[in-house]
């Protein structure tokens, strides 16, 4: 009984933290620092999907969804570990860290709960080209790396240029620190 109580308190504390974060994100979007960049979720231009909620996006990037509404198989495109874009996506969308994310896919593939294995590319240009070539691909790039070869998805109804957009890449720490 005491164990359950401790777990409940801990869970409520975690929920409280996440809610407070969510509230902070929704009520104070203007807190994005000028040096921060937004992370755009991109798909092939032939993809009929224009908008995904954050939870749908999480399912997609965690490999829990297999096909797009048009029947095309979903192909995840990730950048190599350590890249700020990848860190942001894992943290903000998947709400994990790098090791949890890797663990999730290892476990999921093994158990059959995950249907899609992400493709890893070295550069934003590679990501764009991959998505351009694969109709069912989804990936992410910085807003500054966008071009017309890919389509930008709305997240919770917001485009990266909107103030309410929630995916921000934090500025890189100074090298001397």
């Amino acid at each position: 009984m005491g164990r359950w109580l401790i777990l409940g308190v801990a869970a409520s504390c975690l929920l409280g933290v996440s809610n407070s974060r969510a509230r902070a994100g929704s009520t104070a979007p203007n807190d994005v620092k000028p040096s921060e960049e937004n992370l755009a979720i991109v798909v092939n231009t032939s993809n009929p999907v224009d908008n995904l909620s954050m939870s749908e996006l999480r399912k997609v990037f965690l490999g829990e969804r297999r096909h797009w509404p048009n029947g095309r198989r979903i192909t995840l495109v990730m950048m190599e570990p350590g890249q700020p874009e990848r860190k942001t996506l894992i943290r903000e969308v998947c709400q994990m860290n790098e090791s949890d994310f890797s663990q999730h896919f290892l476990h999921g593939v093994f158990t059959g709960e995950v249907f899609v294995s992400p493709k890893t590319l070295a550069s934003p240009v590679g990501v764009r080209k991959f998505i351009f070539n694969v109709p069912g691909a989804i990936g992410y790039v910085r807003v500054t790396d966008l071009d017309s070869s890919v389509k930008v998805l709305r997240v919770d109804g917001h485009l990266p240029d909107d103030k309410e957009y929630s995916l921000h890449i934090p500025p890189a720490p100074a090298q001397d620190q």
């Binding site: 294995s117 890893t120 070539n133």
Partner: protein, 490 residues
């Protein structure tokens, strides 16, 4: 004889007439000029023809090279498109796969551009048809290629291979076949073009040979014509000279016979009495004078032909010239029983010339009028001023008119040729040397004038001496000085 007023209507000498006159004097030069012009024209034609053939050959070569390059590039890039796609199958590295996909798309873009360029240049219906077929088949292959690439990048290698074998290979084979058709068509066109250039070249050679043959024949004919013309001229000249000698001999024989007969009569003592002796002496003197005049005329003509005659140019009154001429022919006219009318316009301007030569010219004309007007015995001498047809060039015309036998139209062009004698007058036993009119014309031209004739057979003739009038304010002394200058230049 046709109508009168035959050639030589009085008119100022135009530059064109002077050129024609020069050409008529030098037919050989004219013929050579024509030959030269024809040669130049032929040369230009041949050069143009050769240049055209050369340009055609260059264009064909350029088209061949360009076409071969286009087809080669199309074939290479099409293969490159497929090769890059297949390379993507050989690796699991997504970065490399993307790179291969990128290469395939770059090659495919070049193929698409090449096909568009081919269609843009296509003119013939079969070219357009083949080009559109290639475009259609290439688009079909690209659709399969895109699916294959997507499968490869997704990691579905087996699916990609199956798709390529079932769809990619046949569609690419159709593309390859289309490219072969394009190449075959191009080869056929190149062969046709080569045949056309060959035919054009053969035509050029045939034309060149034809033109050269024509030129050779024309040149040969021209040389033959020149030689023949010269030969005929020489024969004609020799004949005229022979006739001249005969005529002169005849002209000399009559007075010599008279002189000889008179002298024999005197020597034989047949002539008695002072009065009869005086009559014989008069006969001998007249015949001797006739011989002297004849010899003088021959010498004068020879000197004008040699251009070594010297004239004393000065301002002359027209009436002065006519007076001298009439005075010198008075005896001839009186003995022949002719009536001479004289009409000289008052206040005629002066002319610049040699009095002796001009009066001799008029004397010849008067002598001819007497000689060829046996029945009518009428001569009219007119002098008038012709206001110039060319402004500033006034002209004095002195005309000698008769009502004699006239001249046939066909003989007029020869009338001023040396030694020429009309067959009619020769048969009529009218004596002459054929030098009087040529001499008169030479004198007229030496005085910057000309001599013309109007004649009608059986009606009469009018010979007109045209002389330029002196400028009104021209001082006598200056005119005389210029006259001497003119003498020096002649």
């Amino acid at each position: 004889m046709s109508e009168g007023n035959n050639n030589a209507a009085p008119a100022p000498v135009q530059p064109r007439d002077q050129v024609l006159r020069v050409f008529s004097r030098y037919p050989s030069a004219l013929l050579l000029l024509v030959v030269f012009s024809v040669e130049v024209g032929v040369g230009m034609f041949v050069i143009r023809d050769v240049r055209t053939a050369s340009v055609e050959a260059q264009q064909m070569y350029a088209r061949s090279v360009l076409g071969l390059r286009q087809i080669g590039e199309l074939q290479y890039q099409a293969q490159e498109t497929r090769r890059s796609t297949l390379y993507a199958l050989t690796t699991n590295d997504s970065n490399l796969q993307v790179e291969y996909a990128d290469q395939s798309r770059e090659a495919d873009r070049r193929v698409t551009e090449g096909i568009a360029e081919y269609l843009k240049q296509a003119r013939m219906p079969n070219e357009i048809e083949v080009g559109r077929g290639l475009q259609r088949d290439w688009s079909a292959y690209l659709k399969v290629r895109d699916e294959v690439l997507a499968s490869i990048l997704e990691g579905s290698i087996k699916e990609a291979v199956d798709m390529d074998l079932n769809g990619g290979v046949p569609s690419f084979e159709r593309v390859r076949q289309d490219l072969e058709d394009v190449k075959r068509l191009y080869d056929q066109q190149a062969s046709d073009q080569l045949a056309r250039v060959g035919a054009s070249s053969r035509r050029s050679v045939v034309r060149l040979v034809g033109v050269v043959c024509f030129t050779l024949i024309f040149a040969t004919f021209s040389v033959w014509a020149i030689q023949r013309s010269r030969m005929l001229g020489a024969v004609q000249f020799a004949r005229l000279q022979m006739e001249f000698v005969t005529s002169i001999s005849h002209e000399l024989r009559t007075p010599l016979a008279v002189i000889r007969s008179a002298a024999e009569n005197i020597a034989d003592g047949v002539v008695g009495g002072k009065e009869q002796l005086a009559r014989y002496g008069s006969v001998i003197r007249n015949q001797s004078r006739q011989i002297t005049d004849l010899v003088n005329e021959i010498l004068l003509f020879a000197s004008t032909r040699n251009r070594n005659n010297r004239y004393t140019m000065r301002l002359l009154q027209v009436s002065e010239i006519i007076d001298v001429a009439m005075e010198n022919t008075a005896e001839l006219v009186r003995e022949a029983g002719f009536m001479v009318e004289r009409h000289v316009e008052p206040d005629l301007p002066c002319i610049i010339g040699d009095l002796s030569a001009l009066s001799h010219c008029l004397q010849n004309l008067i002598g001819n009028a007497v000689k060829y007007s046996a029945q009518t015995r009428w001569i009219c001498i007119r002098a008038l001023l012709d206001e110039a047809r060319i402004p500033g060039n006034r002209e004095i015309q002195i005309a000698v008119q008769d009502r004699g036998i006239g001249v046939d139209k066909s003989e007029l062009p020869h009338l001023f040729e040396p030694f020429y004698r009309s067959p009619a007058v020769a048969s009529a036993q009218i004596h002459g040397t054929g030098l009087g009119l040529p001499l008169a014309r030479s004198i007229a031209e030496a005085m910057n004038g000309r001599l013309t004739v109007e004649s009608k057979l059986g009606v009469g003739s009018t010979f007109t001496l045209h002389l330029p009038a002196a400028k009104q304010k021209q001082p006598l002394a200056a005119a005389g000085a210029r006259g001497r200058d003119a003498v020096a230049q002649k």
